[in-house]
Symmetry: D2
Subunit: 367 residues, 4 copies
C-alpha cells in the first residue's frame, strides 16, 4: 500500500463510483484513499452509508468501507490525501459540474472524469486509450491556458459509442476511409446510473428515446478522431471532417452491455470482409503496447458464431474491457454491416477511466 | 351462429392458432367450426388437450374448448365443416407446408396463411389489407393455373416489416418516391411462436440474430409493393424495383410488439416532416373504406410524445391492429428517421389474417 | 355528464392517480372533475404536465388532459368542484398525509384513500367491499368525533393481502375458523408506485425485502376482519383475535399482479378441498348483490389448471377486479395450501377505491 | 496434465454438461477427457456441434472443443478413456436413466450424477458434501449388492433444497432439533435446463408450478439427513424421522440462483437469533476440513444487510459454492424465518457434483 498512488473517487456512492471502488480493489498501481460524495453522505463511514445500497455482488471492499466519506466540495481536504481523482459524480447543471472538476485541477490534481460537462471543452482530451492516446499531449496547453500547475482534466466519451468506435478506428488506422456510419444502439439500463430507469418503464418494454444520447453518439466520435491544432484561441482538438454518423438510441431490459447494429460505407478503396476481420483481430493500441494493467489483451474480439455478440455472454470479455464484434456481412445500402458490444459501466465508464489514468501515468503526465 | 361463416384453424394448438381462436371469439361474420392440429392432438377435445397450455389470459373459449381436434392431414373432414381455413401450422419443411395448403385449396377452400412457404409463389398474393388489396385480383389466375375451383391461397408477410411498411406505403401513395430504407428491428419473443425462444437466451439479453428474418424483411416488401403483370408463365406479382432495404433484426426480452428504427431517403421531391405526419394521420385504406370488422379506424397513429411508441404501451392500439409511429426527425445520412411499432401476433399474424379474409369476403372472393 | 358525480383525484400525476383516471374514463356514476397534485405541477394542463410521463397504454383521456392541475393543498378550490375525492398522493410523512386527508373530510368531502396513513386510525374503516362493507357504519361516529359534517375518510388495505384475504373470508363466512396463515408473496413492481423500484434492482433478480410490507400484511387483515365496538374512547374497529398470520414479502420482476403462496390451518371442523373450492366459486359479497359497476361478477375465480393462476395470464380477470386462486392441495404442516393472485393497482388500489366509493354511494353515505 | 484424473461428461451438450466443462477447465485434479451425448451429436467435434449453442460467456474451452463427441451408449469407449464420469444427461424415462448409469458403474467407473433417477435408490448416497459425507460409506455395500467392482453411483439432490438444507443441518449439528420447515422457493430458469422454460411463459410472469419439485424438496432432505442402517434387504439409508417439510415451488424470471423463504420450528430448546447466526458463520464441513478445491471457504455466509441475499448479487459468492442467508427474524407461527440462496447450476448441480467427486477421491473411494 505504501507504494501505491492514492486516488480519490468523486461521487463514490453512485453506480459508477461504486464500480470504480470495485475495479480498483486490487489495482497494482492505484489505491482508493478518498471517497467523496454529496454533503448528505459526508462524515459517515462509506460502508455504513451504503449498507443496503451496495449495487454489486459481494461485499463492500473492507478497507474502503471504513473510509469516512468526504464532501465533494471539500477540495482542500481531498487534495491533501490523494494524487489524482476519478470524477463520477452526477450533477445535472453542467456549469456547476465543470466548476467542481476545475477546482480540483486548479488545486493540482489530475481529474479523470466520466461526466459529460467537459466533453465539449476544446482543450480537454476525450480519450479512448486505444484510439487517441496522443490527445494527452494537449494537457500542457490546457494547464497553461487555465493557469493550472500539475492539475488537468481528461474525460471519456459517452458509453453508447464505445462498442463501435474502436472497430471503426482500427479500419481507419489500416488505411481505409469511412465516410458514413448508421448505428442503432440497444443500451443497458446501467447506462442511466442508479436509480436510473424505473422498472415500470423497461420490464417487457423498449424505450426508443434516451434524451441527448443520439446527439452525443453522432458528435463525440468526431472529436476523438480529431487532430490537435493551434487556433487563434490557443491549442484545441479539431473534430474530424468527412465522416457522418446517424444514430438511433434505445434502452432495452438488459442490465449491462451496450449493443450496436452498425452500417458503414467506405470512401475510396474498400476492404474485403476477410480483411476487416483480420484488421480487427490484429488491432492493438498504446495500452496493449504499454501493457497497462487494465488493457485488454485483444481490444477487439471477433466472434464467428452467427448469434454473437450477446450482452449476457460477451460483456465480460477480458475483464469487461474488450469490445466484441460479430455478424460482419455485406450490406445492400452501405458497404458492410456488423454488430458490436461493450460493457458500458466498465469499458464505457469506470474501467475506461482507470485505463486513461494508467495511460497518463505511464506517459509521464502525472507528476 | 347459424348465419356465421364456419372457419377452420389449421395449427390450432400453436401460439398463432390460439390467437386466432381468441380473436374470432365474437367475430360478427366468422365462427370457428374446426380446429385442426398434428396427429398427436387429433381426436381429443381442444380444451382438454390444452388445459395447462393455453397461452393467453382468461379461459379457452367455451364452445371451441369442446370441439374435437382434427388431424390437419384430414382435408376431407375439415372441408366438410367449414368455408375457409386460417393456416397457422408450423412445419419446417416448406414443400410439405405448401403441399398441405394446396390440398385445402384444391379441395375448394380459401386458405389464409400466416406461414412463409407460399410467400415466394408468384401468383399468391401477400397481403397487407391497407396496402395491396388489389393483389386479390390475381386469384382467378391462381385458381386457373392450379386447376382449383373455389379454393385459393392468400398469405400475409413476415411480422417484422408490418410496423414500417404501411407508413412507407402511405408516403408512396401520396406521391413520394422512397428509394432507400435502413431498418433495425427489436422484435418480441412471441414472433418465434411457442415454445420459441428459450428464456435462458433472452432474460437480461438481446439476440442479434433471427435466422432468415433479415432476408425476409429486405425482400417481402418489394412483392407487396409490386404490380400484377402477365409473363410467359402466366399472371404473377412482379416485385417493385428501385427500392433498397437494409435490415438488422434483433430479438429483445419483450413479450409482444415489434419495434423498428427506420431511416428513409426520397428520390426526387421530399416532403417536410409536417407533411409526412399529416399523410400518416390521414391515411386510410380499403379496410377502412369498407369498414371491415378488424380494420383499425386509423391504420397509422402518430405519437407526438418524445418517448413513444413503446411496445408495452402502444402495441394494443385499436385492438392491436394500428401501427404506431413516432420520433420523426431529420437524419444526417438519410432524409428522415423514425420509430414504428406493430403488434406481431395480432396485426402481424392472426389479426392480419382475419382482416385479409374479411377483405376477400367483402370483395366477393369467397364463393 | 351533467348527472354524474364530480370526483377529484389527489395525487393525480402518480401511478395510482393515473390508474384512477384511466378506470374512471367511462364510469357510469363518477366523473373526474378535479386533478390535484403537488405545487410543482399545479397550474398546468394535466395533459401537458404528463406528456412524456403517461404510464399506461393509449392516450391521456382527452377531457382530463385539458383540466388544469390544482395544488393538493388548495382544499377550498377542490371542494368547490367535486363531491368526493380519491386520495392517491404519496407523502412519506404520515402525520402530514393524515392532516391533508383530514382537511378534505373537514371541508365536507368523503375521502377514499389508497394511502396508509389512516389505516391504523381506529374509527376509519379499512374496506374490502366484499369482506367488511358493514364497517362503513362507523362513519357517523367518525364524523361526530372529528366534528366533521358530510366528510369522512375510508381507506383500503395494503395491496399485498388482497389476493388471499377474500378467499380466507369466504371460508370464514361459510362457518370455518382459520387460526393460522403463512403467506409468501411475490409482488409486482407497480406496487411500489412510480418511479418505484429501480430497474437495476429487479432485472434478473428478486428482492427479498419490501420495507414495512410484512408488518402490514400480518396486521391489516385483523382490522378488516374485526368488529365495530364501543370503547372508552368511542366507537372503534377492534381487530379480530385468534388468527395469526406469518408473512414473507418479495418483489419480483413482474409489472402487475401480486401472487401469494398460502398455507392455512383450521380450528375445529375442516372443510374438504372440494368444499373449499365450492365455497370460493359460490362466494358473492355486497358489491355483487348491489350490482356495483366495478364489482367483478365472481369475486373469487378458481382455476383448475395445474399451472395457474399466473400474474401475466390472470391479473386482468373480470376487469382486473377478481381474485384468481388455484393449486389447492393438502399440506404437510398446515391443513391446506394454495396460490392466489390479484391485480395490485386495480383490485389492490384504484379499482378497489372506486368500488368502495360505489358501495358508500349505494349505501347512502354520500350526501 | 499427464497427472490429472481423466473424467467423462455424460450429457455434455446440455446446460449442466456445459457447466461441468466450464468449471473443470482449470481443475487441479480432474481433466475432461471424454464428452458424451446423444447419438445425434456423436462423432462430431464438440466445438463444432455447439458453435451457436454454447450457453455461457466466453469461448468453449479450446481443448474440449476439439474432442470428438461420443455416444452416451458407447460405455466401453468411454470407460477406456476416463476414470470417473459426471452424469448430466437428461432422459425422461427413469428406468432408462438408471440403466445407463448402472452400465457405467458395472463397467468399473464411479458415476457422479446430477440426475434424479437414482435418488430414491436406497443404497445410493445422495450427497451434499458438507452435510452427509459419511453416506459414502455405503458404497462397498452398493458395489457388493450390484456385483460391481470399482464402479458405483453417487447422486446429488434437487437444486431447490440446496439453499436451505445446509443452514438447517448446521443448526442440527449444533444440537438443536428442527421439526417443522415451511419453504417457498423462487427458482431460476436455468434449473429447468436448456431450452427449459419458454420465454413466453416467464417474461413478466411467475409460474406457480414446477412439476414434481415440491415432492422432491419435501422428501429428499430426509434421506440426506438419514442414517445408514442394515435392513433385511441389506444396507440402506433410512430417511430421518420427526421432521416435516412443506413446500411451494415457483419459477421466477431470474437466470441463476434459487431463493427460498423459510420458516422453521424447533423441538425442545431453541437457540436465539444471535446463536443461530453464529452457528451458521462458524459452520464448516468435511470439504472445508479437507480443503477440497471446490469447497467454499465459508459454506454459509450470513448477510446482515436488510435486503440480502439477492439472486443477482449473491449467487456467485465464493465461486458460486457458498449458500447465502439473511433476514433471520422471529416468526409469528414458527420460531424463526429467514431467506436463503444458492446457485442452482453450480452449487446445486455441476459444482456440487465436482465437490462430491473431490470428496470421494480424497476419502479413497476412487481406486
Amino acid at each position: 500500500m505504501a507504494n501505491k498512488i492514492p486516488v480519490g473517487i468523486l461521487g463514490a456512492t453512485g453506480m459508477v463510483g461504486q464500480q470504480y471502488i470495485r475495479l480498483l480493489e486490487d489495482h497494482p498501481w492505484f489505491q482508493v484513499a478518498v471517497v467523496a460524495a454529496s454533503p448528505r453522505s459526508a462524515g459517515k463511514k462509506y460502508g455504513h452509508t451504503l449498507k443496503n445500497g451496495w449495487l454489486y455482488d459481494g461485499l463492500i471492499p473492507d478497507r474502503v468501507g471504513k473510509l469516512t466519506v468526504r464532501d465533494v466540495g471539500d477540495v482542500a481536504g481531498v487534495v491533501e490525501e490523494c494524487a489524482l481523482v476519478f470524477s463520477a459524480f452526477s450533477i445535472p447543471d453542467k456549469d456547476e459540474s465543470r466548476a467542481i472538476e476545475n477546482s480540483y485541477a486548479a488545486a493540482g490534481l489530475p481529474v479523470f472524469s466520466t461526466g459529460s460537462s467537459h466533453r465539449g471543452t476544446e482543450n480537454v482530451p476525450m480519450l479512448i486509450a486505444e484510439i487517441n492516446p496522443h490527445h494527452l499531449e494537449i494537457i500542457p496547453a490546457q494547464q497553461k491556458k487555465n493557469g493550472w500547475g500539475k492539475g488537468f482534466v481528461v474525460v471519456k466519451p459517452n458509453c453508447s459509442l464505445q462498442s463501435y468506435l474502436t472497430p471503426l478506428h482500427a479500419l481507419m488506422e489500416a488505411g481505409y476511409t469511412i465516410d458514413a456510419v448508421a448505428v442503432t444502439t440497444m443500451q443497458a439500463i446501467s447506462g442511466a446510473g442508479y436509480p436510473g430507469v424505473a422498472s415500470w418503464d423497461i420490464i417487457d418494454n423498449v424505450l426508443p428515446l434516451i434524451p441527448g444520447e443520439e446527439e452525443k453518439t453522432e458528435r463525440e466520435p468526431l472529436k476523438i478522431l480529431g487532430a490537435i491544432s493551434k487556433g487563434s484561441a490557443g491549442w484545441r482538438i479539431v473534430p474530424k471532417k468527412g465522416l457522418t454518423i446517424s444514430a438511433h438510441c434505445n434502452r432495452v431490459p438488459v442490465s449491462d452491455g451496450h449493443l450496436a447494429c452498425v452500417n458503414i460505407s467506405f470512401k475510396g478503396k474498400k476492404p474485403s470482409a476477410k480483411e476487416i476481420i483480420n484488421i480487427w483481430k490484429k488491432f492493438r493500441g498504446e495500452p496493449q503496447r504499454l501493457k497497462l494493467p487494465f488493457a485488454p489483451k485483444q481490444p477487439i474480439i471477433y466472434r464467428y458464431e452467427a448469434n454473437r455478440p450477446q450482452p449476457k455472454l460477451d460483456r465480460d470479455s477480458d475483464k469487461a474491457m474488450s469490445v466484441s464484434v460479430g455478424r460482419l456481412r455485406e450490406d445492400t445500402i452501405f458497404d458492410f454491416k456488423f454488430v458490436a458490444l461493450s460493457h458500458n459501466t466498465v469499458r464505457g465508464a469506470a474501467g475506461g477511466g482507470i485505463l486513461n489514468a494508467e495511460l497518463a501515468y505511464k506517459k509521464g503526465f502525472l507528476k
